[in-house]
């Protein structure tokens, strides 16, 4: 009897750990989305595309240029960050002053463009990034974990902490918070708003790209991989409160765990529905998000 309970416990822990691993990926993408929302007040549809571009940039760097996996993480982040800045220049700055919905559509146009460009370049066959770690899992308390997953979790946590520090402490981070509060007043106080815009999109795109590279050796990479990620990031941003970085971090983990538990204990086919249902409930009963607004502010 007790061994049966023990098995149950092990299964529970395994689901929990798997959920945390995928959850931190959601956090990374969602923090990018929420920062961009906080500064521009727009929903950036290319956030999932950055995730895909990051993964493919790393794939190109490691497979075609022989760069090591570890080096490919910062390089892919830089490449995608530059892409992010180009996106800001081409489809956000040119439309300044328009209604929110217009930005939704302009970034959606770019999403279609970039995604299909990736399809032309790499085709629809799923690929995998090679992991630099040995495939044998580490067993701890009956939980199986690959080294890649451990690395992913640590690396993502460090990045999130760095971004938080950056926005809280650095000069540019303070300018970002000022612009998020009131763009015009910030500009009057001598803050270079354009620099803030560039930094925001660079950071947002870079974080998404990092998520793509970290997850690449675990899941398949393909041009359409960004869709579901974008929706998950939406859910996390709404759960955490729009513009709230800390909220996005915790809620990413919550979403990951909820999905993993739902898939393990309820029904694996409807794994993606659990997050959506949680989001609808949050919106109905706590529309300001679980942790309230105000991360950037």
């Amino acid at each position: 009897m007790s061994s049966f309970l023990f098995q149950k416990m092990e299964l529970f822990l395994q689901q929990l750990v798997n959920g945390l691993v995928i959850g931190i990926i959601y956090s990374l993408v969602a923090i990018g989305l929420t920062v961009i929302y906080g500064i521009f007040d727009i929903i950036n549809m290319t956030q999932g595309t950055f995730f895909m571009i990051g993964a493919f940039a790393a794939y190109f760097l490691t497979k075609n240029l022989g760069v090591s996996y570890f080096l490919s993480i910062p390089l892919a982040m830089i490449i995608t960050g530059v892409m992010g800045i180009l996106v800001e220049r081409s489809s956000v700055r040119t439309l300044r002053g328009q209604q929110n919905i217009v930005f939704l559509l302009s970034t959606m146009g770019l999403m279609v463009l970039l995604e299909n460009l990736a399809l032309v370049l790499w085709g629809a066959t799923p690929r995998q990034l090679p992991s630099p770690f040995a495939p044998e899992p580490v067993v701890f308390l009956g939980v199986f974990l690959t080294r890649q997953k451990i690395f992913l979790f640590l690396c993502a946590t460090v990045m999130i902490l760095l971004v938080k520090r950056f926005i809280k402490g650095s000069r540019l981070g303070r300018s970002m918070r000022a612009v998020a509060t009131d763009q015009n007043t910030a500009a009057l106080m001598g803050i270079d708003v354009n620099r803030v815009f560039i930094a925001t999109f660079g950071i947002g795109a870079g974080l998404s790209a990092a998520a793509g590279v970290l997850l690449g050796p675990i899941f398949d990479i393909e041009p359409a991989m960004g869709h579901l990620t974008l929706i998950k990031a939406f859910i996390v941003v709404i759960m955490g409160g729009m513009g709230n970085i800390t909220g996005a971090f915790y809620c990413g983990l919550i979403l990951g765990v909820a999905e993993s538990m739902g898939a393990g204990y309820i029904n694996v086919d409807y794994k993606d529905a659990f997050g959506l249902i949680i989001m609808i409930l949050v919106l109905l009963f706590r529309p300001q998000g679980l942790l309230g607004k105000g991360g950037l502010r």
Partner: protein
């Protein structure tokens, strides 16, 4: 002035009636018919987005529900097109009420995303409930509509020309309904809500009720369009609720021009014809499509309708 307007209207009617006869190829006629179906869909979205002013991001869910209503009705109950034409908007309207009831309390991006969430849930069910919906394969073999009066008429809408006139009649019906609703008390209430919801509430408009009515009517329009789509293409699949249709339909309405009747019509024609003719470009097709979307938003913020108005103004001044 008045005579000129009637002349213009007569010309439009004649052009619409003669248009398919100018094209010999069935392919061109096919594009005309599918433009017509997307005109219906974009008029439905425009009804919610253009007049009531909220953005239902998951709007194609009603299109999919309409298509599945008639497809499942045909498969399990043996219903025909005309039953579907009535049942699809009813089912879509019921779902519109169920989705609208929680989500219309929210505004802006929240409303947009929560409707998208509902659409995703419906897509998941359509994909996973294989024993009922046949999963991602979709339901095929939906028959063309027939008009049969024993001994008198035996008429099947089996090629593009017949379909064209059927779709034109339904388009005219949609435009008429749209026009009448917008120029009624309800239309004024919706405009007030679109311009300033708090103020509308303050002057005594029951905003939630009117938003709900608009949302349900828009959903019914989408459902009917879905039914027509299913019988014309003879297939209903979960793709109808997916990302491609979301992108296309929003491009049609916004690039056509929100809050006008002509805008969505122009947008639907443009964004049906362009992807079809880009088929020659094969893999680059959707890349070019995305580029056109982006460029038209940047250079035509008022949409095609704004462009038409500019041209009209220029003629008037002469």
């Amino acid at each position: 002035m008045n005579r000129g307007r009637w002349l213009f209207r007569a010309i439009v009617v004649i052009v619409v009636l003669v248009l398919p006869l100018l094209f010999e190829s069935t392919y061109a006629r096919h594009i005309l018919v599918s433009s017509g179906i997307f005109i219906l869909l974009s008029l439905g979205l425009n009804f919610i987005m253009g007049y009531m002013g909220q953005t239902p991001f998951g709007y194609p869910v009603f299109f999919g529900l309409g298509a599945y209503t008639t497809a499942l009705g045909f498969t399990y109950l043996g219903t025909d097109f005309w039953t579907g034409l009535i049942a699809a908007p009813i089912v879509a309207g019921i779902f519109g009420f169920l989705i609208g009831y929680p989500s219309l309390r929210l505004r802006g991006p929240y409303f947009a995303i929560v409707t998208l969430a509902f659409a995703e849930i419906v897509a998941l069910i359509l994909n996973n409930w294989v024993s009922f919906t046949r999963g991602s394969m979709g339901i095929s073999g939906i028959p063309h509509p027939k008009i049969i009066i024993p001994g008198l008429i035996d008429f099947t809408f089996n090629h593009e020309l017949k379909w064209y006139y059927l779709v034109v009649i339904i388009c005219a019906f949609y435009l008429l309904v749209n026009h009448r609703l917008i120029h009624s008390y309800a239309g004024e209430a919706w405009l007030a809500i679109r311009e300033n919801e708090d103020l509308a509430e303050a002057v005594g408009i029951h905003t939630f009720k009117w938003k709900m009515i608009s949302f349900v009517i828009g959903a019914m329009m989408g459902g009917m369009a879905g039914c027509i789509y299913a019988h014309y293409y003879t297939i209903a699949s979960p793709d109808l609720v997916g990302f491609y249709y979301i992108t296309t339909i929003f491009a049609m309405v916004i690039i056509g021009g929100r809050g006008t009747l002509l805008g969505p019509v122009l947008g639907a024609i443009l964004f049906t014809a362009v992807p079809e003719y880009l088929r020659a470009a094969k893999t680059m097709r959707l890349v070019i499509f995305g580029l056109i979307m982006l460029l038209s938003i940047i250079f035509m913020p008022q949409g095609l309708n704004g462009l038409v108005n500019d041209i009209r103004e220029r003629f008037r001044r002469r």
